[in-house]
Structures are given as structure tokens and as C-alpha cells.
Symmetry: C2
Subunit: 329 residues, 2 copies
């Protein structure tokens, strides 16, 4: 039986990815893949954009929700969204039963993490609160969501000029990964990508150059991870590196530079050597290449949405769907 | 008297930058700014794309040339380019007098650097040879082109979705700059940008975040350089950092994140913390955002074109113009 891959999904729609707007492509892949809605616990849900995003996902049968935060503020925002057509009458009627009142961020973090541990929710979502407040509770040894694995951030990107959705890790959480961290980053990304139906995950070890240079430790690390991949130590991952960004993302450039292998020109995941490197890829493409993104923190016992305060509605909505899909597998 | 700036140049054309193709914008800015052609010494000029680029620049009165390399091969290529309409009859007639035969890369490097030192040429251009062979001669203490300054790479980018040409440093030469190196990178970039007529240069210290975090040394460095800029220690540079890529390059994102200052949303130069960070910006935008680029190595006694073997004709041509412009100031 052939497994579903995002490449196949693009093809099976009967049209090339280029004919579909970037916006719809990420949305379609995520929406079509969710079979069972899971429950999203929003810590500090008294936030306009977050509520709007979760109401949309719930209305479409893609997610359920539990709202932790300042109750009167949540109700006010829901009434406003109702007037704007972004919250149905049914959602407004059922609202009270889904709110857990919390006075502040600390309380919301504790109760949201509790909800995950007790099985009441399967995805954790940061509303309008400090990231560190939520993470402090997530990594709490006694009552947190740690699994012993490295927690890392994976951003899915949909860029009109690339032929499929791809991921960057880590653009937001692990600052200066060493070799062991990088192997964990790859494994975490692999789990997320296979939850979308990929049967094999092509990971590029991104560096400034395509050859090993002892003065550039990231090139040495990339070559070492490629050896591990070749030896079959990385499961469904095919790793190639060091690769420069153009060789990883463009078949013509790869051929021009005589860099072959199944990852060159066709990467699913970009492993970057530092948080700054990943961050500039994501933000350059969002600001200058019409990229749409979904973010997911993986490695805890549930996927976590940690979108930044500047995230717009669509980023929040896509991130909810990506984490919900990941949690349902 | 108001000095010419690239922003003014865009405006004075009577149309918004967005209405001009990215290709033409970089070309126009470079072409319009060159008043006096300088001589470009091409080391290992027996290269199709390099010859095509310099023939175009010379034909347009934008550069002169001296060709160092395997003479019969240069003549063969020139005859081929003549048949293709890319080398004029006049250029073909004058060819022999401009060729200095060299057997190999080492000899071409020595003679090309000599040509710069003796004043016969003002720009050094790497043809079809190893970068390290040329650089070894450039940094030679007795007969090289060192000035005591750090040599660094600046890439000019023209991206349709940004409102002006901007630069990234260092995406290709200085691997892991420390604070002192970063100050030199800024100064080198400032020299190049002011040679294009900028009267002030807005430099963004690019990091993954916009706040200082002691665990991220690049944020500390960026804040320190901003202090130096505020204290007037950086000449015509206005430095702001740490800034994330979206805040540096997009006014709406800057306002949304309440990051003010003259650089936010309007950067001329992006100072990046590592070669990998700069390299992924340049290559992401070239592959996925239709960017056009011109590269220039600065800090030696003349500008140097070190385009990679995969550089196409337009990249070589633009880089020649950028270096010629820089050398003529």
C-alpha cells in the first residue's frame, strides 16, 4: 500500500502546486489530513486572535477547545467575535462550559498543563501570556509535560516558489545545538512530518557551503549526521549535508553545482546550525516571499503552539491545525 | 545640497520601486551611478560567463578590462561570443592587446594583483579559478592587496517585495565574527553603500529576537554596536539591534512589535551573526523570492568580485558594476 505523502497529495489534487495559492495549500494539507478533532487547551485565552482561530477550527470540526483565562474577558471577546460573524450562536451558547477561570498567567499555565496530563486536552496553546511562564510549567519535573527528549520548535512553511510544504528546525527554541541536539532536532521534525503522512523525510543539513571544512563545525556535524543516516540509524530520515540553501531547495542549482542525492533540490526539512539561521529563513520568507507558516513545539508529551505576540490569525489557525494533526497520530 | 540616495533615485524615476522589475532596478541603480569606467582585471578570464559579462559592461562604457588567462582559450570564447552577438567587432579587434597570457591560476593571481598594485586595473575579478588561489595572493604580505583592515563580503540584494536595494554582510567570507570583526563589517559595508550615494546607512543587527539575552552573545554584541552608533562612533552609520528579520525589513511588523527607530522596517544593511545566517538570507531570497544580487569583497586596496562557480551572467555583470562603482569613488 502506498502511503500518502504531501507530494502525492499535491499531485492527486490534479493540479500543480504552483496553481494553488500558498495560503490554500497549507490550509488544504492540514484540513484534509485531520480525521478526528482533538482538544486544544488555550492558556490565557482572553485574546482576540487566538479565540478567532480556535472558533474557526472548532466550527469546521477540526479541533475542540478548553479555554483557560479571565472568564469575563473571554466572554466579552466571544460576544464581539459573534457580532463579527467569527463565533457561531452554538459556540456562544456552549462557551461557559468550556471556560476554566484563571486569575493570571501562572494559574492558566498550571491548569492548562493539568488538563493535558489528565487527558482533557491533547494540544497546549499559548494565548496572551509570556512564553517563559508557560514553559516553566511545561518543564516542571513533577507535574510538567517533559518526556526526557529535547523540546524543539519546527516551523512549517508554504512558499509559492517551492513545490511543497517544508519545515525549518530550530528557528525559535534551541539556540546553539550541538551534534547530539541536532540529532534530536531531526528526530523531532521527523515525527511531525510523518504525522502528516510522509513515509520518508528528506532532511538537509544547511550550511554556508557544500563541503566539509574543519573550521566550520556545522559542516562536520552535517557530514556526521549524513553518515548516521546512511547507516540506517535515523529511521525514516534521509539526511544530506552539508548543503547550501540553494542546493537544498532548487534542483537546477543542485545540478549546476553537481550535488546529487535525493535531498538536494527536494528537501522536506532544513536543519540549521543556530537559532538565528533558522529564524532568518522563516522571517525572510514570510516578509519577502509570501510564505505562510505553522509553528509547533515538539518533544513534550503533547504538541505545543507557542506563536509569538505578533502572530496573525492565519498563523495561529494553521499552528492549531498542525499541532492537532500531530496530536491525533 | 541634497545628496543622492538610492531611495531618492527610485522616487526621481517617477514610479514606485514596485512597478519596476527587480532585475532592472539593481541594473539601473548601478548603471546610472557609474560616471567613469574603471579597469577590471579578470584572473583566469578563459570563462564564458565572465567574458560575456565584461564585454557587456565595456560595450556600455561602464568598465574597461584586462584579461589574464590562457590566451587561445580566451580568443576562442570571444569568437564564440562574437557569433552570438555578445562581443562587438571592435572588442574582438582590440582583444589581443588586452590579454596577458597566464599558464595557470597561480600565475593569473600574481599578475592580476600586480596589475592592481601598478594602477593598471582598479577592480579584481575571479574568473574560472579556485577562490583560495586568488585570495592567497591578495593577502600576501609583500605583494598583496591588504590594507590592515578586515576583508569581508557584502552582497547587494534586490528583492521585488522590498522597497529598495539592501545589503547583507557577511554571507561568504568571515565565518564567526566577534564584536570587533562586526564593527569592521559595518564599516566595510558603510563604505560600499556610501559609494552608491547613500548619505546615511541604516544597519540592522540581525538576531532571532529583539531583546538582549545574555545567553545569546549576538544580541549583546548588537546592543553594544547600537551604543557605539548612538555615541557617534560609527560615522554615517545608524545602527539598531538586536532586531529580528521581520522587524528590520517590514514597517508593519516593526510597528506591531512596537519596535521604533529609523532602521526598523527600513534597513539598508543587515549585519548577521554568522556566515550561515547571512548565506541563508541571500540564497533563500534568490531561490524563493526572485532576488537579484551583486557581490563585492571589500577591505582590500580594491574591490574584488569573488562570484561562485554557479553564478550566472547577471550576477557576474551586476557584481562587476557594483565593484566598478565602488572603485570609482
Amino acid at each position: 500500500m502506498e502511503m500518502k505523502t504531501i507530494e502525492n497529495m499535491s499531485k492527486s489534487s490534479g493540479s500543480a502546486a504552483y496553481e494553488i495559492s500558498d495560503f490554500k495549500m497549507l490550509e488544504r494539507v492540514l484540513r484534509d489530513s485531520i480525521k478526528e478533532p482533538v482538544t486544544v487547551a488555550i492558556a490565557c485565552a482572553h485574546d482576540y486572535e487566538s479565540l478567532k482561530a480556535i472558533f474557526k477550527a472548532e466550527d469546521e470540526g477540526l479541533a475542540d477547545y478548553l479555554l483557560l483565562g479571565i472568564k469575563p474577558e473571554i466572554i466579552n471577546l466571544a460576544e464581539r467575535l459573534h457580532k463579527e460573524g467569527a463565533c457561531s450562536q452554538k459556540q456562544l451558547d456552549e462557551l461557559i462550559g468550556r471556560i476554566v477561570h484563571c486569575e493570571n498567567g501562572e494559574e492558566a499555565a498550571v491548569k492548562a498543563v493539568e488538563a493535558i496530563r489528565s487527558g482533557k486536552a491533547q494540544v497546549l496553546f499559548k494565548g496572551i501570556m509570556q512564553t517563559k511562564t508557560l514553559l516553566k510549567e511545561v518543564v516542571n519535573k513533577d507535574r510538567g509535560l517533559g518526556t526526557g527528549s529535547l523540546m524543539s520548535s519546527v516551523v512549517l512553511l508554504d512558499v509559492p516558489k517551492y513545490h511543497k510544504i517544508f519545515a525549518v528546525t530550530d528557528p525559535g527554541m534551541v539556540m546553539y545545538p550541538d551534534l547530539s541536539d541536532k540529532v534530536d532536532l531531526v528526530k523531532n521534525a521527523e515525527k511531525l512530518m510523518t504525522s502528516f503522512g510522509y513515509e520518508a523525510v528528506k532532511v538537509a543539513g544547511i550550511c554556508a557551503i557544500e563541503v566539509v571544512n574543519e573550521k566550520m563545525p556545522e559542516t562536520v556535524d552535517a557530514a556526521r549526521i549524513e553518515e548516521m543516516s546512511t547507516a540506517g540509524e535515523l529511521g525514516r530520515v534521509t539526511f544530506q549535508g552539508p548543503l547550501s540553501m540553494d542546493v537544498a531547495m532548487n534542483k537546477e542549482m543542485a545540478e549546476h553545482k553537481k550535488t546529487f542525492g535525493s535531498v538536494a533540490g527536494n528537501a522536506d526539512v532544513l536543519l540549521v546550525p543556530s537559532i538565528a539561521t533558522g529564524n532568518v529563513i522563516v522571517k525572510s520568507l514570510m516578509v519577502l516571499a509570501d510564505a505562510k507558516m505553522a509553528g509547533c513545539v515538539v518533544g513534550a508529551s503533547c504538541p505545543i503552539v507557542l506563536t509569538s505576540r505578533s502572530a496573525d490569525f492565519s498563523e495561529r489557525y494553521y499552528s492549531i491545525l498542525a499541532c492537532a494533526l500531530s496530536a491525533s497520530r
